[in-house]
Symmetry: C3
Subunit: 209 residues, 3 copies
């Protein structure tokens, strides 16, 4: 390892990875809830706990920023990255919460498919965030960011089809349409937030190029 005048605080990379892993666990918990819609209250509460854990990681990161003299990335980028990863989980929690709050009978096939795509997007976010330790691997970072973009597009296409069928199939139950529209849109926003993290990583990479 090369000599440095001041050692970098590598803990920030650990915190990014913990945050990204925590969001992935949340996405997997949502996908599991959609596959096996039993014990809903308990499963939704578990996702809420993961969301609280995400808040704790964010606060720990910001605390450390205040106490650290030399940061490995610019301070505002660390702030943006950890807030972005937290936003993904916030929308996963909000989606799970609506399934419980609105006393949904059972998830639709569209919901299951969207949750699976979100898991893949969160896996890619975890990989991409891992590259922050070595920003010189621009080709690899871009490849994973393109994949996150592709998954976000896939989620948006699934949303469009889901809305189309929702308006037809449930046209006699406007309250059901309102509830499901919100749930579908919330999970699609979670995939949008994955794209925001990818954009933040790319922006950091461009600064350090």
């Amino acid at each position: 390892m090369a000599f440095r005048l001041l050692p970098r605080d590598e803990t920030f990379f650990d915190l990014f990875e913990r945050a990204a892993e925590n969001s992935l666990v949340g996405a997997e918990a949502l996908a599991d809830l959609c596959r096996d819609f039993s014990g809903v209250e308990e499963k939704v509460r578990h996702i809420k706990e993961l969301e609280h854990e995400g808040d704790r990681i964010t606060h720990e990161t910001l605390d450390r920023l205040n106490r650290t003299f030399v940061t490995p990335l610019e301070r505002e980028d660390i702030h943006r990255l950890v807030s972005g990863i937290d936003d993904v989980l916030d929308h996963i929690d909000a989606t799970a919460n609506r399934l419980y709050l609105y006393e949904i009978d059972r998830p639709t096939d569209a919901m299951k498919t969207m949750a699976d795509v979100l898991v893949r997007a969160c896996q890619e976010v975890k990989i991409t965030v891992g590259y922050l330790r070595n920003l010189r691997q621009a080709a690899e970072i871009n490849q994973h960011c393109i994949e996150i973009n592709r998954l976000e597009n896939e989620c948006d296409d699934l949303l469009r089809q889901a809305l189309k069928h929702l308006m037809k199939d449930r046209k006699d139950d406007p309250i059901a349409v309102i509830k499901w529209k919100e749930i579908y849109e919330k999970i699609e926003i979670a995939s949008d937030k994955c794209e925001d993290v990818a954009n933040a990583v790319q922006a950091v990479m461009l600064k350090h190029a």
Copy 2:
């Protein structure tokens, strides 16, 4: 006062404080409207005037940025801060507007409680923005930002409960559900925007740490 080679333009801090005070007055006017739902058209027009005043403060700030050589904070941060404070009031105005536009009979208890929480968030924003004059008080700034976060979480919990009861209590009136869902979500976004301002202040503080 210490000698400086170039005097800082302290007017920017005055403008931030005027903007934050103006948003707080808007939040208080919304809370008042919810408590005493009489003279609605007049009260909604008053909030609209406050929103125009907010736009004037924003434009005055940007004008001054263009004419100022040495700014006390980075130019893009001044832009972000004043736009952020303006966004809070834009959503307060949009919320009040929907109460009038949709010919709402009377505000719900949930609405009153959310408006009160928003007032407290705007009070905290005003305090936090006041610390921009002295960014070395990191502990105090963080404490107020954490409180803004807490109030935003409280507002989100109130939104969830309000939506849950709305879907049940008004299930025979889908148009009422649509109207109230938008109103509740708009006021919750106003509290989100308070959190964005807190994040912007924290980011500025981190740069100047």
Copy 3:
């Protein structure tokens, strides 16, 4: 032309202008669809192709950023500008898509007017983005940004009136209310995104002032 130690890559300005022109063509296609609501599927598919072209311009810009040593603007600003212009078109595409997806019979007058205002906002965005080649023209840039702000306000006023009448006129068809509310809000967000681009141009101008 003045001698430079390293020639600036002017291609980025070409890419911004291509992106802004492409978004304008998309806005015009949406306004045309609203005026002449025939061959809807074909016209909506054409807007989708423009949106794909927008994605290609964005990717070309980011690719070039990775291969360019000296950029004419800060890297993260180039990223923000091209993403912002792309967002406008994404929301134009989403609006057109909903008209088709929801099997809308015919556009309302409110929709036609909003689409026309959006065309004017996109024209202003194209002009504003053109000034990035010469950021010293601060007065002109601000003037066009103020006009974009004004058009965004106009679009928001149109949205409010459209929602007011929608809730009254279609109160017996909640599904129609849900569909049209989404369409109106989506086109208004497209005009918001024009304002974001204006803000990004102003922020760049302030940095280079």
